[in-house]
């Protein structure tokens, strides 16, 4: 990692970029801060301050539906994002750094297809197809949701990985091959480590996209398969319960904890 060690002075910096980045982070966290504050609100409105209280945490704690929905969302996001990243990574390797071959454009169009249709259309078409399966097989478990989420996560995982691959230097792999490494060894020792930032970016996008999905989930879910977003969507036309703020705060706390842990583990390793 010679480049990172280089004196950062003039070469890397661009004027004003740091400022934009700061502003960007400020903007990202402003609504989040507001949301966390209102999680401690005593009133019944999601954004009208009526004093400090923990009642919504208690109420969320007592509300099994909300908890199950939260757990289901996390489960769904991690499973779908994992599968999506793996298959998208394989597809990305197969579709980059090659002379054009027949079917390449086809693959590209197929992989990006879920991006190009509005959610409601995918949702309705999945409803039509999956409900047939549900009736035929008698199985109406969470598998359908995993499948649906994985499918629309694939392009989100694919594009960052592809972008990463396109920027990668072929010389290292060639060198490995010259040193009689098998293709698998070359992949494991050379390509994969270089690919990590792309994989991480792809995974995180897929995770977040799955965690956020409303419309498709709404149409695919069977009885007792509420996720946090669909739980919330259902409330949109009525009053939204501030329990949601509390749940979101817990989610945030969890993710911050995770990041901190990751940070320290990483530091130890270094």
């Amino acid at each position: 990692m010679a480049t990172e060690r280089r004196k950062p002075f003039a070469i890397k910096a661009q004027p004003g970029f740091g400022l934009v980045a700061m502003l960007c982070f400020f903007m990202l966290y402003l609504p989040i801060a507001i949301l966390v504050v209102y999680a401690f609100n005593a009133g019944e409105n999601i954004a009208l301050w009526e004093g400090f209280s923990l009642r919504w945490f208690q109420s969320a704690w007592a509300n099994e539906t909300v908890q199950e929905a939260a757990m289901r969302s996390l489960f769904l996001a991690s499973v779908s994002a994992t599968i999506a990243t793996i298959v998208a990574g394989m597809a990305a390797i197969a579709t980059t750094r090659t002379a054009p071959y027949r079917g390449l454009t086809f693959k590209y169009a197929m992989i990006n297809q879920p991006l190009m249709v509005p959610e409601i259309v995918t949702a309705v078409s999945l409803l039509i197809v999956f409900s047939r399966f549900k009736v035929w097989t008698g199985y109406s478990g969470i598998g359908y949701l995993v499948l649906a989420h994985t499918a629309f996560c694939i392009p989100f995982a694919y594009l960052p990985i592809r972008a990463r691959l396109e920027n990668m230097d072929l010389t290292l792999e060639r060198a490995a091959a010259d040193l009689y490494a098998t293709p698998w060894q070359a992949f494991k020792r050379v390509t994969l480590p270089l690919l990590v930032p792309g994989l991480v970016a792809g995974y995180m996008l897929a995770f977040v996209i799955s965690l956020d999905d409303v419309v498709i989930t709404e149409f695919v879910k069977s009885g007792g398969q509420e996720t946090l977003p669909t739980y919330m969507l259902g409330q949109l036309r009525r009053a939204v319960s501030p329990e949601i703020n509390a749940i979101a705060t817990v989610f945030l706390a969890l993710s911050v904890l995770l990041v901190t842990l990751f940070y320290f583990v990483n530091r130890k390793k270094n």
Partner: protein, 344 residues
């Protein structure tokens, strides 16, 4: 006590030929979001040892599409009354004969024979309400019992008005305001309604479902809305009043039905009977903030809902309300075109 109760229930259901099995197991309910009282569910679960699971939907159209597609695993659904004829004719609902259940006697008389389910062979009301306007009276003290507030607004409200983008409801309001008949495909009437919508649109700030926060905080000064929603708003901000449009409005109700594909029919029947009990009906109202149709539930209602002006109907509205209905398909097509025109 519990065993006695159970024996009683079993006895009654046996007597009525409703079924015999002691209800144990589970019950899958498909309802609007944030609309099912958790206390009510808990009470039911404890009483009958049934595990209840609630799944939400956000619109009648979604619910219909999903149930029609099948394989959902729901036992009970709670569609709006005006959608019921479709559910019945599509063969989605079990003829569960709630009219023969023990607690049916508690049902208010004016709810026994709705046009969409005469004699109540399929459904019982969950909660009901009216459609009207909410106005922040601190900024406008004039007449609010009219659709004029939305369609020909006073200067004080202009630019701070919202209309809930429920296509059928909005066009209903415009038709009623211009003296038309709802669900009519009469071109003259439709033209008047469309012109009113188009002329009023520049005065609107938004077309949004979520009215609670902006109304309470004064970002919105008037909106079309449902009565229970306005009750919630007034409890936080006393300046907000509910107006009953004297040109006419409709009464909607959401109805509890058992699906044909239900796996837990007995539990579902128990649940329907359960919610027609006055105390339980009041629990439901207290949570969702809408009125129920069960006689004798008033004593159990929370204080802030007893005699709430939003929940009843004032005298001048007598004869000016209809039960909400679903329009025929060809009319819906015309409405969709008008709606797209208004919102393009």
């Amino acid at each position: 006590m519990k065993t006695m109760l159970r024996a009683a229930v079993a006895g009654v259901s046996l007597l009525l030929g409703v079924g015999t099995a002691l209800a144990e197991g589970e019950l899958q309910i498909y309802n609007w979001g944030n609309y099912t009282s958790p206390e009510l569910v808990k009470k039911f679960e404890e009483k009958y040892k049934v595990k209840v699971s609630i799944t939400d939907y956000d619109s009648n159209d979604t619910a219909l599409a999903k149930v029609r597609a099948g394989g959902t695993g729901f036992d009970i659904a709670i569609p709006s009354g005006n959608f019921l004829p479709v559910w019945i004719s599509e063969g989605l609902i079990l003829e569960a004969r709630p009219d023969q259940m023990e607690n049916f006697k508690n049902l208010r008389e004016d709810f026994v024979n709705p046009p969409f389910d005469p004699g109540r062979h399929y459904s019982v009301p969950w909660l009901w309400g009216t459609y009207g306007v909410a106005v922040n009276t601190k900024h406008y003290s004039g007449d609010i019992d009219t659709w004029k507030v939305i369609f020909d607004p006073p200067d004080e409200l202009k630019g701070k008005i919202n209309i809930v983008p429920e296509m059928g409801d909005a066009i209903y309001a415009a038709m009623t305001y211009t003296g038309g008949t709802y669900c009519s495909g009469d071109k003259e009437m439709l033209k008047k309604a469309r012109d009113v919508l188009l002329a009023a649109k520049p005065h609107w700030m938004s077309m949004e479902y979520a009215t609670q926060e902006p109304m309470v905080k004064g970002d919105m000064l008037a909106t079309s809305d449902w009565n229970g929603s306005v009750l919630r708003q007034r409890l936080v901000n006393p300046d907000i009043r509910y107006g009953f449009p004297r040109e006419g409005t409709f009464i909607w109700q959401d109805t509890v039905v058992i699906l044909k594909e239900a796996k837990n029919v007995e539990n579902a029947k128990l649940f329907i009977n359960f919610i027609m009990d006055p105390e339980n009906a009041a629990m439901n109202s207290a949570f969702a903030r809408y009125a129920n149709a069960i006689n004798g539930s008033e004593p159990f209602m929370p204080e802030d809902m007893k005699g709430a002006p939003e929940l009843g109907l004032p005298d001048f509205m007598k004869g000016k309300t209809i039960f909400s209905v679903a329009c025929p398909p060809d009319v819906v097509e015309l409405y969709t075109k008008i709606w797209t025109d208004v919102m393009k």
